[in-house]
C-alpha cells in the first residue's frame, strides 16, 4: 500500500465513515426519543404505532433495508436517493428503533414518586416529561447509547456495498489494486477500533456531565486518556457534599 493510495482513497474514506456515523446517529437519536416517548403515551393508538415501528425496524436487516431503499424504492418513486443518504436513512431508522427501547426503559425507571411530585405541583404531562422525567432518565441512557453508537459505527461498513466510498470501500479498492489483503484488513480493523474508542471516551464525558447534572458523584476516573475528562471545580457539584445519596 502506497502513500498515494492511502491519501487518495483511505483518508476520504475515513471522513465518509465519520460523516455517515454522525448523520445516522443524529437521525437515530431523534427517532429514539420520539418513538421512545411515544411508547409511554397514554393513548393506545400512539403506543400501538410506535410499538409497531420498534418491532418492524428491530426485526429488519439494516443491510437489506439499505438495498431496498437504494434499489427497490426508486422503482416506485422514479427517483433515486443519493447512496450516502440511503445508507444514513437505513442505519438511522434501524438504530433509532433500538434506541427507542433505551429511552423507554430509562423513562420507566424514573421513580413514580417523581411523577407524583410533578402532578402535585400541577405540571402538565409534557412539562413533567421535559423538566423532570427526561433529565433524570438521561444519565441512565448514556451507557447503552454508547454501545449503540459503536454498533452503528461498525454498521456503517454496510454502506460500502451500495457504493458509498467509506473506509471499508476504500480498503477493498486498495486491496484489488495491491492484493495486500492481510495488512489492509488489519489496518482497517484497527481504524474502526480507534474510532470506536474515541466514541467511548466522548460518551464517558457525556455521562460524567449527565450525572453531575443530577447531583451524583461522577464515577472514579481511570484508564487511558483519563485526563481528557478532567473536571473543573465549577462543574463539580459534589464539593462540600453533606450526605451523598440521600435523595430519592
Amino acid at each position: 500500500m502506497t502513500w498515494a493510495l492511502w491519501e487518495s482513497y483511505m483518508l476520504p474514506g475515513v471522513w465518509i465513515t465519520v460523516q455517515v456515523t454522525v448523520y445516522s446517529a443524529a437521525l437515530a437519536a431523534a427517532v429514539a426519543f420520539v418513538v421512545g416517548v411515544a411508547r409511554t403515551s397514554r393513548l393506545w393508538i400512539v403506543r400501538f404505532l410506535s410499538g409497531a415501528y420498534f418491532e418492524i425496524f428491530r426485526g429488519a436487516s439494516a443491510l437489506v433495508f439499505m438495498f431496498w431503499l437504494f434499489f427497490a424504492l426508486p422503482l416506485a418513486l422514479g427517483w433515486q436517493l443519493v447512496p450516502m443518504w440511503a445508507g444514513v436513512l437505513a442505519l438511522g431508522l434501524t438504530y433509532g428503533a433500538y434506541g427507542s427501547e433505551v429511552v423507554r426503559g430509562a423513562l420507566a425507571a424514573v421513580s413514580p414518586a417523581q411523577r407524583e411530585a410533578g402532578i402535585a405541583l400541577s405540571f402538565t404531562r409534557w412539562q413533567r416529561l421535559r423538566r423532570i422525567e427526561l433529565p433524570q432518565a438521561w444519565p441512565e441512557m448514556v451507557p447503552p447509547f454508547n454501545n449503540l453508537a459503536i454498533e452503528l459505527l461498525k454498521g456503517t461498513a454496510l454502506v460500502s456495498v451500495i457504493s458509498v466510498a467509506d473506509m471499508t470501500f476504500a480498503a477493498n479498492l486498495i486491496r484489488f489494486t495491491t492484493n495486500d489483503s492481510a495488512p489492509i484488513y488489519t489496518l482497517l480493523l484497527l481504524m474502526y477500533f480507534v474510532l470506536a474508542f474515541a466514541i467511548t471516551r466522548g460518551m464517558r464525558l457525556v455521562e460524567r456531565k449527565a450525572k453531575a447534572g443530577i447531583g451524583q458523584a461522577p464515577p472514579p476516573r481511570r484508564g487511558l486518556f483519563a485526563g481528557l475528562s478532567r473536571r473543573t471545580s465549577a462543574t463539580d457539584p459534589v464539593t462540600g457534599a453533606a450526605t451523598p445519596g440521600g435523595a430519592r
Binding site: E116, R125, I214, V238, A242, T243
Partner: protein, 267 residues
C-alpha cells in the same frame, strides 16, 4: 418569619373548603374508604390518625388527584376535583379542569420527592415559573424568602442529594408553599427521617400553622405535634371516621373504644 411570606388566604373565614361526599375507594376487593363523608373548614388544621391501612394516606392522595375515587365526589373551594358540572349532571372532568383545581392544593410527601436534577432554588421556583407563569425574578425572590423561613439559606445552590433528609423535607415544604396553595397536605412528613432531624421539620410546620391561615390536612404519627397544631382530629378505622373532635378531647378522653386502644398502643 412573617405570615404574609406565605399566603393571606382570602377564604379563611371558616367556611367549608374541602368536602368529601360519599367517597368510596377500593383497591381490588379491598374497600379502603367506605362512603366517607367529612368536610374541612377554611383555615383549619385537621389531623388524621388511625391504624395503618385505615385509609388516611388514601384521603390525601385522592385530594391531590393522584388517585380517583370509585364513587362519590370531592370538592375543594366549591369546585369538584374529578368531576365537572354539565347542566345539572356531573361528568368526569377533563385534564385541564383537574389541573386548575389542583393548583389550590399543595402536598409534602413522606419521601420528600424533590427533583434530583434541579438545585434547591430551582426545585422551589420551577412550578411557580412554568405553571403559574410567574416571572423568574419574582419567583426566585419568593423562593429565597421561603427557603430562609425553613432555614436553608446557605443551601440554595446544592443538589437535593447533598442535603440531609430533614433539609430535603424543609425544601419540599418551601416548594409546596411557593405555589400559594389554599390547602397543604402533609403525608407522614417525618416518617422517613432520622429521629434527630424530626424536630427541625416539625418546628417549621408548627411555625407555619401558627402564623398563617393556610388550611392543613395532616397524616402523622407524631401525636405531640398533632395535639399542638390541630383544631380537629379525625380518628379513622376501616375506611370510616369513627370519632372526631378537638385534640384535647380525642387524646385525653376519647369516646370510642377503638380510639383508646389505638392511642394506648402508640403513646
Amino acid at each position: 418569619m412573617s405570615a404574609d411570606t406565605i399566603h393571606k388566604n382570602p377564604t379563611a373565614d371558616g367556611r367549608e373548603l374541602i368536602r368529601f361526599d360519599k367517597v368510596t375507594k377500593r383497591f381490588g376487593d379491598h374497600v379502603v374508604l367506605d362512603q366517607l363523608e367529612f368536610d374541612v373548614s377554611a383555615g383549619k388544621h385537621v389531623t388524621l390518625i388511625g391504624p395503618s391501612g385505615s385509609g388516611k394516606t388514601t384521603i390525601l392522595r385522592l385530594l391531590m388527584t393522584l388517585l380517583k375515587p370509585d364513587e362519590g365526589t370531592i370538592s375543594v373551594d366549591g369546585d369538584y376535583l374529578t368531576h365537572q358540572e354539565k347542566g345539572d349532571r356531573l361528568v368526569p372532568a377533563g385534564e385541564k379542569h383537574v389541573r386548575e383545581v389542583r393548583k389550590k392544593i399543595g402536598m409534602v410527601f413522606q419521601q420528600f420527592n424533590l427533583f434530583p436534577n434541579m438545585k434547591v432554588l430551582r426545585n422551589v421556583t420551577e412550578a411557580p415559573i412554568h405553571v403559574l407563569g410567574m416571572g423568574k425574578e419574582e419567583a426566585e425572590q419568593r423562593a429565597r424568602e421561603l427557603l430562609e423561613m425553613v432555614g436553608l439559606t446557605e443551601h440554595l445552590d446544592k443538589y437535593p442529594s447533598q442535603l440531609s433528609g430533614g433539609q430535603q423535607q424543609r425544601v419540599a415544604i418551601a416548594r409546596a408553599l411557593a405555589m400559594r396553595p389554599q390547602v397543604l397536605l402533609l403525608d407522614e412528613v417525618t416518617s422517613a427521617l432520622d429521629p434527630e432531624l424530626v424536630a427541625g421539620v416539625l418546628d417549621v410546620l408548627r411555625d407555619i400553622a401558627h402564623t398563617t391561615d393556610i388550611t392543613m390536612l395532616c397524616v402523622t404519627h407524631e401525636m405531640n405535634f398533632a395535639r399542638d397544631i390541630s383544631d380537629e382530629v379525625l380518628m379513622f378505622n376501616e375506611g370510616k371516621v369513627i370519632e372526631s373532635g378537638p385534640p384535647e378531647k380525642i387524646f385525653n378522653d376519647p369516646d370510642h373504644e377503638r380510639t383508646r386502644e389505638f392511642l394506648g398502643a402508640i403513646l
